[in-house]
């Protein structure tokens, strides 16, 4: 139930945004992430974006295992 899916914000319309889930376009509410802009990646849960995803940091955790050995 806590499933959340990555999506890219295409267009912001007030409290809503049109997002792209790898081809599937949907309207989601962005009220919980008011800072997001078009082009940002977000996690979407139950019709709401709940967190902005930091693409730059995406690879950081994989680099991390190098440092924890």
């Amino acid at each position: 139930m806590c499933l959340a899916t990555h999506a890219k914000i295409m267009k912001i319309k007030g409290k809503h945004a049109l997002v792209d889930f790898e081809g599937l376009k949907k309207d989601v509410k962005i009220i919980l992430t008011p800072e997001v802009k078009a082009g940002d990646y977000v996690l979407v849960h139950a019709g709401f974006s709940i967190q902005k995803i930091n693409k730059k940091e995406a690879n950081e955790s994989l680099k991390m295992w190098n440092t924890i050995r």
Partner: protein
């Protein structure tokens, strides 16, 4: 996110896990159905050394929803001329005598929705009372809170407030003397909301490693490696493997919405029992959104666990689905006995589909 599925990386991570393996029994618990899905789907248990066990905790919100809440929802929609909305996972979970899906077959107006905003939309178009069966952990609760805050004047909308909170459940399990856990993979999406802080006190108080993990196979393996490293160095702290989505402080806007609308309360977890401060109830100023207060419905004594079903033991990490004599025999996803066999995030459902 392909890098998190990269096979060469998987192999390196497994090699590192073998190298650091303390060769004694290690039990790592996760508290998220989506983590279990990743573990089962990618066959991660088979890749790990035999002494490292990944066990399920109470990470499926619909599995831990009390039968009394389901019985209340069923009686409400049967007795009053109302519309009940619910998330799909909840639809088939058995109450004491029946489920919402069986109730719908007999004519009740029950609608499966994807997000709570759809329930509000329905309420705006009807004179009828619309009640949302509001289940979910900290990932879901802010969506409900923000809809209530945006629709304060809506008179025909209310919720059955069945939200439960993860850190108090982890605290409870760690306090049980008969449950052995050596470390936790903390739930990634719950943590996008609550951040890293709530686990820090658990890591300190119980001297257990806590690693917030993402949902790709390499996320899980890296989280395990980080836990093993903590065990080896005898340091117990909270670490964040899922840094691409989890900020140290979480989502403050969402936290504010939650605390504005809800306050913590003791809550019964199906098959586990009452855990202090592990649920949400609506604050007094939002009492008109509380379906239990709005509608006077009395239910008879409800039955959480049918005789022989081991869902409770499984969610406490004391048993695995295959320990249940009913598993795959008289209990299947088509004819489930316990909630764990119904929800797509239930341990028995996942074990049935992937073993």
């Amino acid at each position: 996110m392909l890098e998190f599925r990269n096979k060469a990386t998987t192999e390196t991570l497994i090699k590192e896990i073998r190298k650091i393996n303390p060769k004694k029994d290690i039990k790592i618990m996760h508290v998220c159905g989506t983590h279990e899905m990743t573990i089962a789907r990618w066959g991660l248990r088979k890749l790990l050394p035999g002494n490292i066990k990944l066990i399920c905790g109470p990470g499926c919100p619909v599995c831990v929803t009390s039968t009394s809440e389901i019985d209340f929802a069923i009686k409400l929609v049967k007795e009053k001329n109302v519309i009940l909305t619910t998330f799909g996972d909840m639809f088939r979970v058995p109450g004491t005598d029946s489920s919402l899906s069986e109730t719908k077959i007999h004519g009740a107006d029950i609608r499966v929705i994807y997000g709570v905003n759809e329930a509000v939309k329905i309420a705006r178009k009807t004179e009828k009372q619309v009640i949302h069966f509001s289940v979910g952990f900290e990932t879901t609760a802010p969506t409900i809170a923000s809809e209530i805050l945006e629709n304060k004047t809506l008179k025909n909308f209310s919720i059955i407030c069945s939200h439960r909170l993860i850190p108090p459940a982890m605290n409870y399990l760690l306090s049980c003397k008969d449950i052995e856990i050596n470390g936790f993979i903390c739930p990634g999406h719950v943590s996008t909301i609550i951040g890293c802080e709530p686990y820090k006190v658990l890591a300190e108080n119980f001297a257990k490693p806590m690693v917030i993990g993402g949902f790709e196979p390499n996320d899980i393996l890296l989280s395990i490696l980080m836990i093993l490293k903590q065990i080896k160095t005898e340091i117990s702290k909270t670490e964040n493997e899922y840094i691409r989505a989890v900020k140290n402080k979480g989502n403050i806007v969402a936290q504010k919405a939650m605390s504005n609308v809800f306050k913590p309360c003791d809550k019964g977890w199906r098959g586990i029992g009452t855990i202090p401060n592990s649920g949400f109830k609506l604050r007094d100023k939002f009492v008109e959104f509380d379906a239990e207060k709005k509608f006077n419905i009395k239910i008879k004594k409800s039955l959480d666990i049918k005789t022989g079903c081991k869902c409770g033991e499984i969610m406490k990490g004391k048993a695995v689905p295959h320990d249940c004599p009913y598993f795959g025999k008289i209990c299947t996803p088509e004819r489930p006995i316990g909630a764990c066999m119904v929800s797509v995030e239930g341990a028995c459902y996942i074990a049935y589909n992937y073993s």
